[in-house]
């Protein structure tokens, strides 16, 4: 088993109060346990945002609120891309039409590995 890494942090007194309150509410007994749960929650949020998923809460009445944190927005891919036009020569368009209407080749080994994240 890997040795545990020591983690030490100075926190302002107002955050200490919040920390103690959260630990009490969640019935978490140690700082280490609290940190492990906070990491798990943060890791989940990061993975979701990396996939482009937004994070919402929903009230019992169905009202939604989105979680927006600058750190999470930084890692989220932008799926709403701006538009940029590209100039085409007529010959290029003709050649593109010919290539695009043919049966497309099977994916290459490189492409398969790229899409599998390998």
């Amino acid at each position: 088993m890997k040795a545990a890494k020591k983690f030490q942090a100075d926190i302002p007194s107002r955050d200490e109060k919040v920390l103690n309150l959260l630990m009490e509410e969640l019935d978490v007994r140690s700082n280490a346990d609290f940190l492990a749960k906070a990491i798990a929650l943060f890791r989940w949020a990061v993975e979701e945002r990396k996939k482009g998923c937004k994070i919402f809460t929903m009230s019992p009445q169905g009202q939604q609120r989105e979680l927006v944190m600058p750190e999470l927005e930084r890692i989220a891919p932008e799926l709403n891309l701006p538009f940029r036009s590209v100039g085409w020569h007529v010959e290029e368009l003709n050649n593109f039409a010919e290539l695009a209407t043919k049966d497309q080749p099977e994916p290459t080994e490189h492409l398969i590995r790229a899409m599998a994240g390998k």
Binding site: E78, L81, F83, A97, Q104
Partner: protein
């Protein structure tokens, strides 16, 4: 090397200054225009590759934007297989570069993997059928490894148009996930 890919940030303005892929236009773009084009100008979204082992360096970057291919100007006799819209929607890989110091270490492959996954996600939200790139002469062979097809007929500022059908990318994703599944099962 632990690598992450994320959107370019205003805070990266200083970090981009040391980027050198050997191609002056691509160096100039990341140093002078990428942040502006992502923010106020809205011309493209830039993604950067970073490593926890190399502080304050961008290993590579690419820029994505939506674009379209004008169907109206194509000859009718060869248009039978294409949808009947005036413009064919596509995603443009406008810039793609790896810093010379990190070339040959798989940075381009990671970035291409990230970019094509985004292209697939974008195509689910707004229509997109093709990935289009403007490849420098020396990179044409590299793009061909991923299945990009060269479109003959013109070279603009030393760059050639190449395309990849997103249906092929989707098929690659299916095959890739089947491979992963069979590896897990065995």
């Amino acid at each position: 090397m632990a690598i992450t890919v994320r959107k370019l940030d205003i805070a990266d303005a200083e970090m981009v200054q040391s980027f050198d892929c050997g191609e002056p236009n691509l160096n100039e773009y990341i140093k002078r225009y990428a942040v502006k084009n992502q923010g106020p100008h809205m011309f493209g979204v830039t993604y950067v590759v970073l490593s926890s082992e190399v502080a304050n360096r961008i290993l590579g970057y690419c820029t994505l934007a939506n674009t379209s291919i004008c169907r109206d100007q194509m000859p009718d006799e060869i248009l039978k297989g294409l949808p009947k819209y005036a413009d064919l929607p596509a995603i443009l890989i406008g810039r793609f570069a790896v810093d010379k110091a990190f070339a040959g270490r798989g940075v381009g492959h990671i970035l291409m993997s990230y970019a094509l996954n985004i292209c697939l996600e974008v195509s689910k939200l707004s229509a997109a059928r093709y990935v289009l790139t403007l490849a420098y002469e020396g990179a044409v062979i590299w793009y061909k490894r991923y299945g990009f097809q060269e479109i003959p007929g013109g070279v603009d500022l030393g760059r050639r148009k190449m395309f990849l059908d997103l249906a092929v990318v989707r098929r690659a994703q299916e095959i890739g996930s089947q491979d992963l599944f069979s590896q897990k099962a065995s």
